[in-house]
């Protein structure tokens, strides 16, 4: 649910990075954090286990500039990818304005991708959302790994609707900002549509 403050001319939106365990959601946020000007970002918060697996969420507040005097602020969240943290994942999706599904391109993770995408649909439906109506993009991450599925195959499995999609290597930053910009743009367009 976007939040517009008329007085301070600010628009605040929430973007959630979703995907199977170890697909690189946190790595996306970490890369954005390291490459963003200090004035444009707040502190990155990671609620993680001792082994650095996401326990509840990562959070990164980010300013993406102004549109006609409106400051655009995005709150980026990741969900815990591990299957048994489903209750927490549902909570993070509350009030979401846009979703990035981070798929792990490795052939061995095909099943995990499908399961996570299905889980995303189910959890969104529980909150009364539909993935087909939300601003939504897909990122095929880990393109640098040795045994990855071809993008055509991933597209067929994960992106039959043909939403914007990006190849990425989040650890080195390839595709990270392209993904973020695409989802942010879709979110702002939706905010505008609702306002108009």
């Amino acid at each position: 649910m976007s939040f517009i403050n008329v007085l301070s001319r600010e628009i605040n939106c929430k973007i959630v990075y979703y995907g199977p365990g170890l697909c690189g959601k946190t790595t996306n946020l970490q890369y954005i954090y390291t490459k963003t000007n200090p004035d444009a970002k707040g502190k990155m918060i990671s609620l993680a286990t001792e082994t650095e697996r996401t326990l509840f969420f990562d959070f990164l507040p980010l300013a993406l500039g102004e549109i006609r005097g409106f400051k655009t602020r995005f709150h980026l969240y990741t969900v815990p990818g591990q299957v048994f943290y489903d209750a927490s994942r549902k909570l993070i999706l509350k009030g979401v304005d846009g979703v990035v599904f981070v798929a792990d391109s490795q052939i061995a993770r095909t099943e995990a991708n499908l399961e996570s995408l299905e889980n995303l649909r189910t959890n969104l439906a529980e909150q009364g959302y539909s993935l087909d109506k939300l601003p939504y993009v897909i990122q095929y991450n880990k393109r640098d790994m040795p045994s990855v599925a071809p993008v055509e195959e991933l597209r067929e499995l994960l992106n039959p609707a043909g939403v914007p999609e990006f190849e990425a290597v989040a650890s080195t930053g390839v595709g990270v900002f392209e993904t973020l910009k695409a989802v942010a743009k879709l979110v702002l367009t939706e905010v505008k549509r609702q306002a108009g």
Partner: protein
């Protein structure tokens, strides 16, 4: 689409800010802030300069969401109040009208009893304001501040 926008107008913002300013004084608190359930900051008052209120807002919302999840499992509607006691700082968290969260950070200069008393009054007043605001936001003839923006404006933001 079950994702209505929340718009904060000047009139309601000023009313909320007045209540928050007063609560800091009357409760003798260090900081008071109001956030929505998604962790967006709405208003704040007190010694906020030294404090990362953006992070606090997001964590508070996460905390409320987690507690709400626990409540659901216990077939409770919600746990509306939380209190965390530290060595120097304490946090009192109150859900207002099932919509927003009122957070009071205080130290030994005041007492939990006084904070609770003042929070109760402020919550009731805030609830009335947010009810008015929600009616305004849902009014089809409302002022829509973002409507003046064009697709080109949005494109321009993302052109390097």
């Amino acid at each position: 689409m079950t994702n209505p926008q929340m718009v904060m107008y000047e009139e309601e913002f000023n009313q909320i800010q007045t209540i928050v300013n007063r609560l800091v004084k009357e409760a003798n608190a260090r900081v008071v802030f109001v956030i929505d359930k998604n962790g967006q900051e709405i208003a704040k008052a007190g010694e906020t300069d030294q404090l990362d209120t953006t992070s606090l807002a997001s964590l508070t919302a996460g905390n409320i969401a987690a507690t709400g999840g626990m409540a659901k499992l216990l077939r409770e509607n919600e746990f509306t109040t939380q209190f965390h006691e530290g060595e120097r700082a304490n946090i009192h968290i109150q859900i207002v009208g099932n919509r927003v969260i009122l957070v009071v950070i205080f130290d030994s200069k005041t007492s939990l009893g006084l904070v609770r008393l003042r929070v109760k009054k402020a919550s009731e007043e805030l609830n009335v304001i947010f009810e008015t605001l929600m009616r305004k936001v849902q009014d089809p003839n409302r002022e829509t501040p973002f409507a003046e923006i064009t697709d080109d404006d949005i494109d321009n933001l993302f052109n390097d």
